[in-house]
Amino acid sequence: MNKKETVSPQQMGVLFFTFMTGSSIINIPSPLIGKAGNGAWVSLLISGIFSMALLGCMLYLHRRYPDKTFVEYSRNLIGVWPTAILSLLPLSMMLQMLIGIILDIGLFMRSAMLRETPTYAFTSLIFMVAALSVRAGIEVIARMFLLIMILIAAFIAAVLLLAMENYDISFLIPVMPDGLKPILKGAFFSYGFPYAECFLFTMLFPYVKKGSNGKLNRAMFLALFLNIATLCISTICTIILFGPLAGVKKYSLYELARTIDVQEIITRIESVIGMSLIAGSYMKATITLYAISLYVSQLFKFKDYKLIVTPIALIAFLYTLVGFDSDMDWVEVVSVVHPLWVWPGFILPLAIIVTVALIRKPSS
C-alpha cells in the first residue's frame, strides 16, 4: 500500500457522502418510487438501517487491522489462494458498478439532452477524467470532491426549494396501499444501489490518519445519516410534486427542475440537474476506479496501483459498448439483477471475513 498519502477522518466522511449520494440522488427516486410507490422513503429508511450494520462490520475490521485494506487482512485471515478466489466476486461487482455509473451518464445525456450524439462520446471522456483523477491520488480526490459536492448540494437544494410552490402534500398518502411487499421490494432495490456499495471503503480506510478511529466512526455514520436524509427528502419532493406519475418519470429530479418557473425569470434550469448528475457520477466513478485499481494491485502485491488504472478504465469503457444489446437489457441488469448481485459480490465476502476475524483472536 502507498503509505505516503493520508486523509483526515472528516475528508473520508465527505468522500463517503459523495460516493453514496453523488449519482443516486438523481438516479434513485424514480425507479424506487416505481417499485415502492408512496412508501419509497420507508424503503430508504429500512435499507439505510441495514447499511449501518454493514458499515459497522467494515469499521470493526478497520479497528482490528488499521493499516490494512480488505485484500490484505483477508489474506491474513483466510490465506492467499482463498483470497484470490474470493476476490472474483467483489471485483466483478465493482466492475459492474463502474460500467453502470458511467453508462448512466451516457444514457441520460442521450435520452434527455443530446439525442443524436453517440453514448461513447460521453462515456469515453468521463472515463478519461476519472482515470486522470485516480492517478492524482486520494489526497487530491478528497480535496477536489469537497468543492464539487458543495456545488451539487447547493444546486439540488435550490431546485427542490424553487419547486416548492408546486408541491402537494396530499400525494404522500396512502403510504402503503398495497401492503408491505412493495416497501420490501424498494428496500431490496435501494440496498443494492447505493447502500451495499459502501463495501468499497474497506479499501480506503487505511488512508485515514492513524489514531483517529473514534473520529472516523463519527464521520462515517454522520455521512451515512446525511445520505439517508438527503435521499429521503429528494424522494419525498418527487412524490409530492408528481403524485402517481412520480414512478413513471425517468429522471424525476430532472423533470422536477423543468417545472420551475419563478416570475418567468428563473426557468428552464434542468441543465443544472444534468450537470449535477454528470459531476456526481464522475466522482462516484473515480472512487470506484480507485478502489478497483487498489484491489487488483494489492491482490498481486504491487508497490503502486497507478500503472493499471488506464487498462481497467479501458475494459470498463469497452463493456459500456459491448455489454448490452439494448437500453432495456441494461435497465433489467440495474433494477433486477444488481440488487441481488451485491449479496454474493459484497455481502458474502465481507460476512466470511468478519466471521473469521471474530473467531480468530487478535494477535498481540
Partner: protein, 85 residues
Amino acid sequence: MTGVTERIIVLLIVYCSVFLYDSSLLKSSSDKGEKAVYIVLIIISVYLSVSYAANLNFIGFYEVVDLTLTGPARAIEKWLTVPKP
C-alpha cells in the same frame, strides 16, 4: 461513415490515448509483475475491442452473471410484486 469504420476510429483514438498516457509509466516501471498484469488487461481489452468492432457479441462476464443470477433475481422481483387488480 459506416458503422465499422466509425468503431475502428473510436478504438484507435482510445488506444492511442491510453498508450500515450501510459508510456512514461511503463518505461519507468521496473516491476515485471506490474507489466505482466498490464499486458493481460490489454489483451482482455483487445478481445472486447474485436467484439465491438466486428459486432460479434463474444462471451463476457455478463453472460456468466446472466446464467447464474438473472433467474433468481427475476423470481425475487416476481415474489415481491403485488399483482394489479
